[in-house]
């Protein structure tokens, strides 16, 4: 894998996705530099989840390109994208409810064969998520939503991703739990993992992100730094619940 240091880690070029007869993403451009934490915000149905799924390889493209690490990965199946360092924490967490918590975490390391490294990374996840450690033998379906979200993030980290895609990590969780999850996200970002975060909680997402994209019915309508977007009257009106 060769790349110039200036080239972005991920680049979407005129990305178009349609499924179930709906043209969900209508030609978007997006860029992520290495080490950035960027969020994609927008209303329900704007095409955010669709975009993430397409980057992870579980939805086919209608047109456009996904460039990753200097090459196009349009035709790469999902399981091979993971091997290249793209991990998605899917909407609704995608926990294997009938597997134990530990088995869920180990699924994250499925493609790795360095058992010492895996054990070390497991320990790291346990330190980061102490509540998970107490429940390793438990079937994951018995966990609370917050705990499941933690397991889902921990599981994704066990693949040692270069690019972490997070789909609505705050969904359905109590504010205290959300805060804890965002702390984890931030500490992951600090370690140099590039993160693309999809959120409906725009306020929170923009606060934590360096940059943001605003998506509206399949198109990107606005982009800028987290602070700029937070201050933007249009964003405030549309997504932060303020009167224009």
């Amino acid at each position: 894998m060769q790349h110039e240091s200036s080239s972005p880690l991920l680049q979407l070029k005129n990305l178009q996705i349609a499924y179930g007869g709906i043209h969900a993403v209508k030609g978007i451009d997006l860029e992520l530099a290495k080490g950035e934490l960027v969020c994609l915000i927008g209303a329900n149905g704007a095409g955010k989840t669709t975009t993430l799924n397409a980057i992870a390889g579980v939805l086919p493209l209608q047109g456009g390109d996904i460039m990753y690490n200097g090459g196009t990965i349009n035709a790469l199946p999902a399981h091979k994208r993971l091997r290249q360092g793209i991990a998605l924490v899917p909407e609704g967490r995608g926990i294997f409810t009938r597997l134990t918590v530990e088995e869920n975490l180990r699924m994250g390391a499925y493609t790795r064969s360095d058992s010492d490294g895996i054990e070390a990374d497991l320990e790291k996840v346990y330190t980061m998520l102490p509540r998970v450690k107490e429940r390793l033998e438990q079937v994951a379906g018995t966990l609370s939503g917050g705990e499941q979200q933690m397991v889902a993030i921990g599981r994704a980290l066990l693949s040692r991703p270069k690019l972490l895609l997070l789909d609505e990590p705050s969904m359905g969780l109590a504010p205290l739990v959300v805060e804890k999850i965002f702390e984890v996200v931030q500490s992951v970002a600090k370690e140099g993992v590039t993160i693309l975060l999809v959120e409906q909680n725009a306020n929170l997402a923009l606060e934590f992100s360096q940059r943001g994209y605003v998506m509206e019915s399949g198109k990107i309508t606005l982009t800028g730094s987290g602070d700029d977007l937070l201050a933007d009257p249009k964003v405030r009106a549309a997504y932060l619940g303020e009167a224009a």
Binding site: H79, P90, F96
Partner: protein, 310 residues
């Protein structure tokens, strides 16, 4: 009393074979939601391939020990069945992964006809005597109760295979991938699992079990035939439903319970019906059980989820 012990023993033998076949049904159902009705016919191919191998060996090396001969026959029958399992999935079922449920089901029935017809072309329509390489001379551990070495072999070999399979599914990396894929294909692929390969692997393992079961079945009854897979296939399907389809432990339990019920039923049916029916009606028990389970407990003995796909 002797009848009771004898029938329990017979039930354990045939139940072990049902359990091995039922595992193939239930693994494939667990991962794809597909009832592979051609599974019983894979058993038939296993038995006839083993037969063919034995005949060949008897021709070229008549002095070979029966155990070596049986081992070699299994070594040929198992890979042949694995290939069939792999090919069925690759050529037929994979294309129908996202088709309406009825399409793969009908395809499975078509596969069953295809395998039977091919076997009929290769091996003819006649019943073949299956060489009983493990002694079938009965022993009498208890006065009035008979057990043959081949029956002991079946029980022990099935138990070992089931333990091995449980370890494979529950303790290994590929087993974890199988369970993850069974629960959610999409998320499993996000973990880097090549789900197509895992599904193919599941078919191949199920087919290997069917090959062994086929050799056991034919060894026990001393006969093999192109249509021999149909009835044990149907009964093993019943066993899988009885145990809770999709559940490995359920398939094992269901197989044993079905074998016991059928065997005890056959032993006592004359008494129960005052001589009106005899033991050749033993098949009705399996299907009475199937009916009762589907009416009163469609999830089976160990099934957790309501199976809306069965």
């Amino acid at each position: 009393m002797e009848t009771l012990i004898q029938q329990i023993l017979n039930g354990l033998v045939i139940g072990s074979v049902y359990a091995l076949i039922a595992l193939g049904y239930t693994m494939v159902y667990g991962i794809l939601g597909l009832i592979n009705f051609a599974h019983g016919d894979v058993l038939m191919v296993g038995a006839l391939t083993a037969l063919q191998t034995m005949m060949f060996l008897m021709g070229v090396a008549p002095g070979m020990s029966p155990i070596a001969m049986l081992t070699i026959a299994l070594m040929v029958a198992i890979p042949v069945c694995m290939m069939i399992g792999f090919t069925m999935e690759r050529l037929a079922y994979r294309r129908l992964r996202n088709a309406p449920r009825l399409a793969p089901l009908i395809t499975a029935i078509g596969m069953s006809f295809l395998l039977q017809t091919l076997a009929m072309i290769i091996w003819g329509r006649n019943y073949h005597t299956f060489p009983q390489l493990i002694s079938t001379t009965p022993m009498q551990p208890i006065e009035g109760v008979f057990v043959t070495p081949v029956q002991i072999f079946i029980i022990i070999a099935s138990a070992l295979i089931m333990i091995g399979l449980s370890l494979l599914v529950n303790k290994t990396r590929i087993g974890r991938a199988m369970r993850a894929t069974a629960e959610n294909h999409r998320v499993a692929s996000l973990m880097g699992v090549d789900t197509n390969a895992v599904i193919a692997f599941t078919f191949v393992i199920g087919a290997a079990l069917a090959a062994v079961a086929g050799v056991m079945f034919a060894s026990n009854y001393g006969i093999a035939h192109y249509g021999m897979g149909f009835m044990p296939g149907l009964k093993a399907f019943t066993a899988a439903v009885l145990g809770g389809i999709g559940n490995l432990g359920g398939a094992m339990l269901g197989g044993i319970v079905l074998g016991l019920v059928e065997s005890l039923g056959a032993g006592y049916i004359e008494h129960m019906t005052f001589g009106f029916l005899n033991s050749s009606y033993q098949d009705i028990f399996a299907f009475i059980i199937l009916g009762l389970v589907l009416i009163f407990k469609p999830t089976g003995l160990l099934g957790e989820r309501v199976s809306d796909r069965a």
